[in-house]
Symmetry: C2
Subunit: 361 residues, 2 copies
């Protein structure tokens, strides 16, 4: 197993140091705002100069994520590097970690950017419950696998899936060929359908010394495959989700914040759906819960600082503002106990995350 | 009386709009971070390109505060302009307000940047209690005034005083000549010494519609004339400080956040010491109190948005990190219920405000 950081595994960053972030979306933006509060500087690496994060960061570097030389040059200007999305190419992550501490490490990317590797890792190395799955290379694999896993089941691309993209539900045998044609020629995975009663997640951090701080269980509701609301702390939390998250973090020798998504069954048992090696949309409620929020927590971990309080002082319901939802900003601004967070995106597109509101309960 | 904004008095800024801030210190920095959360952009105007605020703002303009042409050009790029310190020259403020809404208005600067005008305004126009005072133009004025006000008393420069700079206590008649020599040839004011039992302040906001939201009374302790701690909510608050603040805000047709400092006497009565037409060091505790903080509140007011909740959910003790206090950052980061705020200043100087910590009680 790769250890977490090939370089400077124990390096602690002092105020005034620079953290590089691979990726310039809203997660990078909120990380940059948190870092600035702590007197740390951020350099954003993104293909776009006017991405949401670059405009609030101390510096920004324009480059493609697969440009290894550019990533190395960028990393040399940073005291540590992290990432805000999981599709950083493995080569680029390894290049960064060869010159500066990369937190979380490259292995967390290897595991999370391929659903087949991820599920195998979770089932075989961590030993936690996941949906039954089969590797699918062609339509014949798919037909055989559907027989073994039963109907309904879900065909997903192994890579680059998010917000429901790259997946098709197969409800009856007649849909198999069409499902394959929709996603081919991408390498796929077939997953048994989990008859869950609710979707929950855990956002947890692991510090440089191995200390873990988990936020409470969060209940998530999706609309059109995109996260709609997160409510925290979720009702009926027996603590098992936090234990599973801790196992995953330890197994990866992880440094930083991770999101772990679960399906919960009628009997309360949990099936891990996927992991995200970064701050997570279902952790945005932490910004207004009276604890150290997930963005500061991630920055603390990446900087090698002690982790902060992850115990909220009140309940929060987070609602994503998708596409034209943002046009109601004035109503949200006028609603008591409601905190508006906007990402500075100028172009509204259907399905695009423009901001979120946290309602303090 | 000048109305608050000569231009665009009722203009409401939408997300994506740009607010200009005259001044680039830590107050501007924290305003910029708050604006970014709301999807508003900040342009910092400062004589220094690498001031604390410029590095977190969407844009920065380098210029002198008395360069009226530069201020006009800057203001033309902004949908509204505000300031983060009270010594913006009157000409510059008026120039800004001739091209874009200036919030708070120029009159708040006129009143607060000259102690004689300020005390006269408070006593004669607002009708609130201030220390007895006399205008001092020469040492003969001073001798006569000391006789009228009694000893001890305090000689202060009318302009540019802060953190105890520009003031001398006179305890006996023999000290008069020396006190004058220390501050001359600056125009001065002599103030009766107030035998206070504690120092308190109110930070309050007034919105575009005249709505006022005051944070609770805050008790302040100074060390070497620099704010050391602020504790909020202060004990024994009968609501009169908030009423006085509201009178001042209304009288100025003010838009934005203001700090009002008081001396409190043994019988509980309040004497206004000074007003600051900006976010205020004694309001930094609001960042971690579970309400909308003073920085977001000011941005909301300047943008013409509704004001947010000013009612804290818990008590906070704010401690300033002055000079080398910042070297203990690692201890603060490790202390539970403690939130560290650093200003990104690289050079540590005696008496320089480097950051603060909020301890949640």
């Amino acid at each position: 197993m790769t250890t977490d950081s090939s370089r400077g595994a124990q390096t602690v960053l002092a105020p005034g140091a620079t953290i590089g972030i691979l990726g310039g979306g809203q997660l990078g933006r909120m990380l940059a705002l948190a870092a600035s509060r702590l007197g740390l500087n951020i350099n954003i690496y993104s293909p776009s100069a006017d991405c949401p994060a670059a405009t609030v960061a101390q510096s920004a570097t324009v480059g493609e994520f697969d440009d290894v030389e550019a990533i190395i040059a960028f990393s040399q200007t940073c005291d540590a590097v992290t990432y805000e999305f999981e599709n950083v190419p493995a080569m680029s992550a390894k290049a960064a970690s060869s010159v500066t501490p990369l937190r979380p490490g490259a292995r967390a990317l290897d595991v999370s950017q391929d659903r087949l590797v991820e599920k195998s890792f979770l089932r075989d190395q961590v030993g936690v419950e996941v949906a039954s799955f089969e590797d699918i290379g062609n339509v014949y694999d798919l037909k055989r696998a559907v027989k073994r896993l039963g109907l309904p089941c879900v065909l997903k691309t192994r890579r680059f899936g998010y917000d429901g993209k790259g997946q098709v539900i197969i409800r009856e045998e007649a849909e198999i060929a069409n499902a394959w044609d929709t996603l081919a020629p991408a390498a796929c995975i077939l997953e048994a359908f989990i008859p869950f009663t609710r979707e929950v997640s855990i956002v947890a951090a692991r510090g440089l010394t191995g200390h873990i701080a988990a936020y409470p269980l969060t209940e998530n509701v999706h609309r059109n495959h995109i996260l709609h609301t997160s409510t925290a702390p979720a009702k009926q939390d027996d603590g098992s989700a936090a234990k599973i998250a801790a196992k995953i973090l330890d197994q990866l020798d992880y440094v930083g914040v991770m999101g772990v998504e679960f399906f919960q069954m009628e009997d309360g048992s949990l099936v891990v759906n996927e992991i995200a090696p970064r701050v997570h949309n279902s952790g945005h409620w932490t910004q207004d819960a009276g604890c150290v929020d997930q963005f500061e927590q991630h920055i603390r971990a990446v900087a090698g600082w002690p982790l902060g309080d992850a115990v909220p002082r009140h309940s929060v319901v987070m609602t994503n503002l998708i596409g034209t939802d943002i046009t109601a900003w004035e109503d949200f601004a006028a609603t008591p106990r409601t905190r508006l967070h906007l990402y500075g995106k100028t172009e509204t597109r259907e399905g695009r995350k423009m901001g979120h509101v946290n309602q303090i309960v």
